[in-house]
């Protein structure tokens, strides 16, 4: 073999070998989209519309058999009052089960606090519920495989399999999990899986007179929730935890934790 041929063949071989077959494969974006499930539940909360009536909390508790008098709830509504001096006060008496009927802010151990109207810079309500994260921390910490995520994104708890160790309750950065006082297992918002999987609405979204809560399919470009998430200025809670939440908020302030 001549040196010229040797160098030529080597060049061809090396460049050929460095290209893997998959590089030459044509990627069809439609095919890529199809490989993802066509359903991914997401939730949209409009904090401007929420008036703090707490009908959602009551409906959720009745729908999902959470004792009304027990101090646990799958969803709740927080009140934020920001004063002109830059202070942020947050309260949430009984998870807003009976709404907000008083101007007095519940400061727990330090009692009730009155903030005069003229000192208020901003005040609004923020409904909270399980974020059904794309990478849920609570699921990863379960030692027995009792909590999991379905293909359509709902994070659920297997009540027959849960041993009640409470790791997931500690693991959730949003504090949405609690110990069910009757079932004696970890419990959380299911996005009303029994309702939405039959084409219904969640109990909280249905009970909301103002349309502050909406559930939808994030993979459907014509879904109102998916549209809002794409087009509106939305935010998620505690993105720094890397859990990739799927509850989006319109009008989310930095102060909201």
């Amino acid at each position: 073999m001549k040196r010229r041929d040797f160098l030529k063949n080597t060049a061809v071989f090396v460049s050929g070998a460095s290209l893997s077959l998959s590089t030459l494969e044509f990627l069809d974006p439609r095919e890529l989209l199809a490989s993802q499930p066509s359903l991914r539940w997401g939730f949209l909360v409009n904090t401007y519309k929420c008036v703090g009536c707490g009908f959602c909390v009551k409906a959720c508790k009745i729908e999902n058999d959470i004792p009304l008098e027990a101090n646990v709830t799958r969803t709740w509504v927080e009140r934020y009052v920001m004063t002109k001096s830059g202070e942020t006060i947050r309260d949430c008496p009984q998870g807003a089960l009976n709404g907000y009927t008083s101007k007095l802010l519940d400061e727990n151990a330090s009692g009730m606090r009155a903030v005069p109207d003229e000192e208020v810079a901003q005040a609004f309500f923020v409904p909270k519920l399980c974020n059904h994260c794309s990478t849920p921390a609570c699921v990863q910490v379960c030692p027995v495989g009792a909590t999991y995520q379905t293909a359509d994104g709902a994070v659920l708890v297997d009540r027959k399999w849960c041993i009640g160790c409470g790791y997931c309750i500690m693991g959730c950065p949003y504090g949405v999990r609690f110990f069910h006082p009757v079932e004696r297992v970890a419990d959380k918002c299911t996005f009303c899986y029994h309702r939405i999987s039959k084409g219904g609405n969640t109990a909280c979204a249905q009970a909301c007179p103002f349309g502050a809560r909406q559930i939808g399919n994030l993979r459907d470009p014509n879904d109102p929730v998916a549209k809002a998430v794409l087009k509106e200025r939305v935010g998620v809670l505690r993105s720094e935890y890397g859990t990739k939440p799927n509850v989006y908020y319109i009008g989310l302030n930095e102060e909201v934790r």
Binding site: P37, T47, Y48, K49, C50, V51, G52, C53, G54, F55, K58, A59, I62, E63, N64, N98, G99, Y100, T101, S102, K103, D117, V120, Q122, A123, F124, F125, T135, P136, V139, Q140, G145, A146, T147, Y148, Q149, T150, A151, L156, D158, R159, K160, W161, T190, C192, Y193, H194, R195, S197, K198, G200, N201, A203, Q206, A207, P209, F210, A212, G251
Partner: protein, 156 residues
């Protein structure tokens, strides 16, 4: 090698076999990594169906409309049209069979959920007509003067 050296090994082996057999009997066949993989989808598949079968308590206003269309119609003409029937009348469950009658929440607190005057700029609450519960006829049920289905006093 002598027998007593092997004996502990047999004990351990039989223990392992016992645990494996117990697992086989105890863990359901549909338990394992599902669509979301080992990290997020390690579970008993049958539980998804169990959650789907959870009984729903709330119907919706169109269900109420099937029999009480007159009431629904009158409500839809008022400012309270946006409030779903079941928010005040209670979850329909198996109504009209069981329960035959729903318990209506006519309490003052029910109205105050929205109509207690709060100063909430940057919230829809500020657009709702409100009263100070301690000044506005305290102790009286709102429904004594206001019709919940048509709350405006002028039109009553």
């Amino acid at each position: 090698m002598k027998k007593h050296v092997w004996r502990p090994l047999f004990v351990v082996l039989s223990l392992v076999i016992f645990i494996l057999l117990f697992r086989l009997a105890y863990v359901p066949a549909d338990f394992g990594a599902q669509e979301r993989g080992y990290t997020f989808g390690f579970h008993r598949l049958g539980n998804e169906q169990e959650w789907k079968d959870y009984p729903a308590k709330y119907k919706n206003s169109s269900y109420c409309n099937e029999c009480h269309d007159d009431k629904v119609k009158s409500l839809k003409a008022s400012a309270h049209a946006i409030i779903p029937c079941e928010n005040c009348h209670g979850a329909a469950l198996g109504h009209p069979d069981k329960p035959e009658k729903l318990t209506v929440d006519r309490s003052r607190g029910q109205c105050l959920r929205c109509h207690a005057k709060l100063y909430m700029p940057s919230s829809g609450r500020n657009n709702i007509p409100g009263i100070d519960p301690e000044q506005h006829n305290p102790g009286t049920a709102c429904a004594e003067c206001h019709n919940p289905h048509n709350p405006s006093l002028e039109e009553m």
